[in-house]
C-alpha cells in the first residue's frame, strides 16, 4: 500500500501489546482496545501520506490511535489541545496505586500512562502529546511528586 508498510508492520509486531494496554485505559477494556489498535494501524497503512516525517512513526500512530479510541467512545469532538481521558485501570493487583493515579490531573495521568503502560521515552511522549520534551519531564516530575504524596513516601520514593 505504500512505503511505510514494512515499518508499520514491524511497529505493530513489536508494540501492539503496549498499544492495547495503553488504549484500554481510554476505552475501558482490552477487547475494545484491541479493536482500536487494529483500526488505528489500518488507518495508518491507508493514509501514509499523512505521516510527514517531522516526528516518529510511532508517535504518529499513537495520535491516530487516540483519535480512533475517542471516536469509539462516542465522543465526537477531540480538541487538538486536549488529550483523551485515561481513567480505566484494573485495580485488583494494586488498589493503592490505582486509586492514586485517579487523583492526577488529566495531562499528568496521560503522561504517566504513556510512560509506564506504553513504555515511551520522554521524547516519544512529547511527540504524542505535541509538547516539548522538557514539558514532558516537568509533567512527569509533578506527577511523580503527586503520586508520592498519595502513596506511602517510603513505598514510592528512594
Amino acid at each position: 500500500m505504500g512505503p511505510l508498510d514494512s515499518d508499520l508492520e514491524d511497529l505493530y509486531r513489536r508494540r501492539q501489546g503496549a498499544f492495547q494496554v495503553m488504549l484500554a485505559s481510554v476505552t475501558g477494556s482490552v477487547e475494545s482496545a484491541r479493536d482500536v489498535v487494529q483500526e488505528a494501524f489500518a488507518r495508518a497503512l491507508q493514509n501514509q501520506n499523512g505521516f510527514r516525517g517531522d516526528g516518529s512513526l510511532e508517535g504518529w500512530v499513537w495520535r491516530i490511535a487516540f483519535r480512533v479510541a475517542v471516536g469509539s467512545q462516542g465522543s465526537r469532538e477531540l480538541s487538538l489541545d486536549e488529550v483523551p481521558e485515561v481513567a480505566f485501570v484494573d485495580e485488583t493487583n494494586d488498589p493503592a496505586l490505582a486509586s492514586a493515579v485517579q487523583t492526577l490531573p488529566r495531562q499528568r495521568r496521560m503522561a504517566i500512562f504513556l510512560r509506564y503502560f506504553a513504555d515511551l521515552s520522554y521524547s516519544e511522549i512529547g511527540d504524542v502529546l505535541g509538547i516539548a520534551e522538557g514539558t514532558v519531564a516537568a509533567t512527569l516530575s509533578k506527577a511523580h511528586e503527586q503520586l508520592g504524596a498519595e502513596l506511602s513516601i517510603n513505598e514510592v520514593t528512594a
Binding site: Q20, Q46, E77, L78, L97, V156
Partner: protein
C-alpha cells in the same frame, strides 16, 4: 525521582496493566484494504463480520427484492424500465440505461459527510444529473449498508449552485489544490497537501473538478497534534459544499431540481477488474478464469492499475451486456466477501493471505468515462 523510583513505579504499573490480546496483522491489512476500496480512509470501527451464510442469505434477499422491482415494473407496463431503488452489481436485464451515455463532469465528491455522517460519493454533471451513493440504510437503498448508485436531475440553476460553492472552496485553498494522478479518479488516495481539519466524525474527504483534461483535487484530513487547521473561512466553505453535495435534497431550493425523484443509476458500461497480490501478468490471471469469461476479456483492451507494490489490478471496459456474459460465466465461483454486498465480486483464487486472493469484480462506469470502487461500509 531517582531511576530506582521509576523502576519501582514501572513494576507497579505493570501489575495494573491488563494482559494484551493476541494481535493479527492480517486483520489490519484487511481493514486497510477495505478502506482503500472505499470503506472510508478513516473508517469506523467495524462490527463483527457477517458469517458467510448470512451474507449469502442477504444477497438472496437483495436479489429477490430486485425481482420484485422488475415484476412491479412489468405489471405496470412502463415503457422505460426504471428502477426506483439502488441495486448491487449488474442491473436487471432490460433496465433503461441513464441517458445520455456520456456527460461532462462538473464536480465529484468522496468523503464522510458532516451533514449526515454517511460515507457519500457524488458526481454532478453539466446536463443536470447528480449520481450518488451513500452508506447506511435509506428507503431507496440497495441494502442496509449502501444505497447503491442513485440518480436525480438538477436544473441549470442547481448545477450552478453546486459549481459556485465548490469554486468558492477552491478559491480559498488554492495552494492546496492538486492534479489527480491519472488514472486514479475519485478513489481513496489523498493528496500530499490536504486541508487539515479538526478531527471528528467527518474529517476526511476530497472534491475534484475538471481542469482541462485532468481533475484537480482538494482533499482534507484530520490535523495532527499541534498542526495548524483550516481557517474558519475554509471550514465554512467546506461545510457548505458538504451539505450541498451530500444532502442536496435538504439544502437545495425547489428551483434547483428538474427531477427530484430518485431512481437507480443504470450504467451503459462496466469496468470488469481482476486484482491480485503479489502482482502477476494479465495473461496469467486470465488463465485462472472460466474460458468463456477469459475469452470476453481477452477481446477487450486492458488497463493496468498499480496500487503500490503489493497489488496489481487489470480493468476492462465492457458494455453492460458483455459484462453480464462474464458474470454468468463466473457464476460458479464463490462470491468474494471483501466486496460482497457492495458490488458483484467473485473469488478466483486463494492467496497465502486473505488480501492476496485473486478476485474479479464489476464496477459501473459513470458518464464522464471513469469508475470508482464501490465497496463501502
Amino acid at each position: 525521582m531517582s531511576t530506582y523510583d521509576e523502576s519501582l513505579l514501572a513494576a507497579r504499573f505493570a501489575a495494573l496493566a491488563p494482559e494484551p490480546l493476541i494481535g493479527d496483522w492480517d486483520d489490519v491489512l484487511d481493514r486497510a484494504r477495505t478502506a482503500r476500496n472505499g470503506r472510508g480512509l478513516l473508517g469506523r470501527l467495524r462490527p463483527s463480520a457477517f458469517r458467510g451464510r448470512r451474507r449469502r442469505l442477504v444477497l438472496m434477499l437483495a436479489a429477490a427484492a430486485l425481482v420484485v422491482v422488475v415484476a412491479t415494473a412489468s405489471a405496470l407496463a412502463v415503457r422505460a424500465f426504471i428502477l426506483d431503488r439502488g441495486f448491487i452489481g449488474l442491473p436487471p436485464q432490460g433496465a433503461t440505461p441513464s441517458a445520455p451515455e456520456s456527460g461532462e463532469l462538473v464536480v465529484l465528491w468522496l468523503g464522510r459527510s458532516a451533514t449526515n455522517g454517511a460515507l457519500v460519493r457524488s458526481w454532478v454533471y453539466a446536463d443536470g444529473r447528480i449520481i450518488w451513493s451513500r452508506s447506511g440504510s435509506i428507503p431507496e437503498g440497495a441494502n442496509e449498508l449502501t444505497s447503491g448508485y442513485l440518480e436525480q436531475r438538477l436544473t441549470p440553476e442547481g448545477v450552478e449552485l453546486l459549481r459556485s460553492a465548490v469554486a468558492g472552496l477552491f478559491d480559498g485553498s488554492r495552494t492546496l489544490l492538486e492534479t489527480v494522478p491519472a488514472p486514479y479518479p475519485g478513489v481513496g488516495l489523498v493528496g500530499s497537501s490536504p486541508l487539515l481539519v479538526p478531527p471528528g466524525p467527518a474529517d476526511w474527504g476530497l472534491v475534484e473538478v475538471p481542469r482541462g483534461d485532468r481533475l484537480v483535487r482538494l482533499a482534507w484530513l484530520p490535523a495532527g497534534s499541534g498542526e495548524q487547521t483550516a481557517t474558519p473561512e475554509q471550514l465554512s466553505a467546506l461545510r457548505r459544499v458538504d451539505a450541498l453535495l451530500t444532502d442536496p435534497a435538504s439544502v437545495l431550493p425547489p428551483s434547483a431540481w428538474a427531477i427530484r425523484e430518485v431512481k437507480a443509476y443504470v450504467p451503459s458500461h462496466y469496468a470488469v477488474c481482476i486484482e491480485t497480490s503479489p502482482p502477476k501478468a494479465a495473461s496469467q490471471l486470465l488463465s485462472l478464469l472460466p474460458a468463456r469469461a477469459a475469452d470476453v476479456l481477452r477481446a477487450n483492451s486492458v488497463t493496468r492499475l498499480d496500487w503500490g507494490v503489493a497489488a496489481t489490478t487489470y480493468c476492462s471496459k465492457l458494455a453492460t451486456e458483455k459484462a453480464r456474459e462474464v458474470a454468468e460465466a463466473l457464476s460458479g465461483l464463490d462470491q468474494d466477501p471483501r466486496w460482497q454486498r457492495h458490488t458483484l465480486a467473485y473469488r478466483v483464487a486463494e492467496g497465502a493471505h486473505n488480501w492476496e486472493a485473486t478476485a474479479i469484480w464489476f464496477e459501473p462506469y459513470f458518464p464522464h468515462g471513469q469508475f470508482t470502487y464501490s465497496a463501502s461500509g
